[in-house]
Symmetry: C2
Subunit: 451 residues, 2 copies
Amino acid sequence: MPDLINARVLKGFRDFLPEQEIARKTLIETLERTFRSFGFVPIDTPALEYAEILLGKGGGETDKQIYRFNDNGGRDIALRFDLTVPFARFVAEHRAALTLPFKRYHIGKVWRGENTQKGRYREFTQCDFDIIGSPGTGPASERGDFEILLLIKTALAACNAGDFTISVNHRGLFNLFLERLGAKDKLIPILHAVDKLAKTGAGAVREQLTLCADKNTAEEILRFISFKGTWEETAKMMTEAAGGDNPYSRRLSGIYKFITDSGCADGSGAEFRIDPSITRGLDYYTGIVFETFLREQPEIGSVCSGGRYDNLISLYSREALSGAGASVGLDRLIAALDGQGRLPSRKTYADCAIICLEAENYGKYQGLAAKLRAAGVAAEVLTEVPSDRLSREFAAAEKRGIARVIIPGAAGGAGSLTLRDLGTRTNREGLSIEEIINLVLSGRSAARRGE
Amino acid sequence: MPDLINARVLKGFRDFLPEQEIARKTLIETLERTFRSFGFVPIDTPALEYAEILLGKGGGETDKQIYRFNDNGGRDIALRFDLTVPFARFVAEHRAALTLPFKRYHIGKVWRGENTQKGRYREFTQCDFDIIGSPGTGPASERGDFEILLLIKTALAACNAGDFTISVNHRGLFNLFLERLGAKDKLIPILHAVDKLAKTGAGAVREQLTLCADKNTAEEILRFISFKGTWEETAKMMTEAAGGDNPYSRRLSGIYKFITDSGCADGSGAEFRIDPSITRGLDYYTGIVFETFLREQPEIGSVCSGGRYDNLISLYSREALSGAGASVGLDRLIAALDGQGRLPSRKTYADCAIICLEAENYGKYQGLAAKLRAAGVAAEVLTEVPSDRLSREFAAAEKRGIARVIIPGAAGGAGSLTLRDLGTRTNREGLSIEEIINLVLSGRSAARRGE
């Protein structure tokens, strides 16, 4: 006998068993439905690209993490590590075929050879949505900024994410503030320090800031980024700190007017705030930046982040294209919803199962199931034939996550059916197939309404 | 200015633009809905696996085509080239967590460094569905065989694939026939030759057969595989050629009884036949095998193939597990539907678009859109503001694939809306939001009914 191969996945990779995969798919479908309802359209790009394309803008950190190799034709290729760089390449390549403003979403896997000790995975799913093509400082881009924020709010509410805060900031405002402090030449180390406020706290940030700025400047920066207040209060403080009226403050108040006018700031537990500590580190953002925190689990970090960027395709084209976009961290969102007991939980999509009462009538049972399916009822036909008691079949159906079983009449009879509710352990007998369809469909609607 | 990077995808790889991706997603969603309606559940596995896992059973041809490399930790890894080998590994690894019979589907990308001159792609999508866990020769597996065939028929009909033929054969029957001819020791070269009948024709097969069998044997084989008749006629011929009644013939007639009893052989243009030339080459099948041909485009080859296999997990476990399954060749199916004008064609999921009449009221328009979306109407708010005439906005909406636009009242007024049908160029004025919702939803139902 040959040696067996050890059946195992690579470190940092995961299988998804049916119950997990159904939950993942349910969330992805909810996100997609929301994106589509805003008029965003899907695209797809290859998992593999020329390494040159992917690494053009990547920093040293990303370089080390990338899965890069030579193919059989000697090409230097790599697996995509995000969906943004391929999107930029896609836009440059297909520019002539795209109608601006172009609103696209893309849900797909990305790969990074990260240190798995941090609880991170080497294969994970990103859900990106962007709107590109309006000049970054023009009024249409203000509408674009707001549309992305509204879409985050709508998508997370649809995912049943509970109360959450969308924290917004503007890169330009922080730059003006540093300029007024005379610390603009230290922008990069200061951004590095500021970005860690939520993670490491004020003490550590102060310590790091004093390495690149004098004590007073460090305290002013710390006061600026630690400010807490309503959108208006924070906007007022920041405008003053930036030296008065400026286009970035006007952008933030324009967005806030849209939020208020839309009526979307109220209800469903979503809150929009300005958080002066949000800078998105050294990313390529040039306008607003934002992160989203679940109020019951702020410690897991942002579940949806993004911002406005200029020159999306500058690596591939001389054309200037501005855009705004965000990315849902699906794995993080799933972990959070799971922790809150908010994850959709089901083992099967079948609404009911037909018991295979007599082996020779299996074809008739599938014919019965076909009628149910044509009416929108998902009906599995159980493969096993009951040996003596039906109770074993009921248990088998329950184990498969099925809520109701149909017991057909003798000789495959479809005229007199029994519908058993496995939860209440009650039978309704002598039903026609139409009656079964109505009962199952109304039961499903009631379950959706939470009755 | 730095040099630009040439924005291009790798040879054999593809981007999907929105219209193509919507068509792809529509087909995938139709397939998934069908799988789910039979009680099949989804799983997912990593794109990367240990090369040892993927190559355990692969032949030399596959070895050369695989994307294989060492990761940064020095592991010998590869991208999956199908979904069957990862499924076997998955079942072996999670055996204790699975309820048998286990009915799973898996839709995902696979990668092969194939010669692209044949019009093949190096990245493509497979849609696999299998039912495993009933002993391969037992009566439950007969039900499993039929269920897979019925699922193929139901899924392709749901995809609007037109008339198609599901051609079935049984490996065991062909083996018995060769045994009777005294040619069983030449099984492998004969399978090689027979498999090419549809592609190369009888002449070429005869030539190849005479290389491994005498002239009379070659003629008998050719007569056997070229037989055309109804299911019953073909079954009768094959049973006689195999030396009379045998378990494989009984399996084929058992399946046919189920097909007839289910009423699923009739209507919708699907036809089940026995085709003695179907052998699935040197694959790992041990029972029934099948292929599916679109009657309007037989030349594109099988759009859904599969069969029954024993010892799915034998590389990883001593447990014997039999199963039956099939794989839809999504790219081939899409090409075929496209050729027949049967591919779903739309540029957007938006049912309507709201014109951004006045820039300052954009928030109100999004609030209006939010009400439409909550009622199930997908509503895009156009980002651009009309400069003078609305006709330019109508044209822009049409270019985005939108069928209806909503013109809000002045000052963001939501009480008196105009709904314009861009197809008929007619307006309905003075509508409430509820009236708009009803008109759009009923327009969508009418479009679905093909009115």
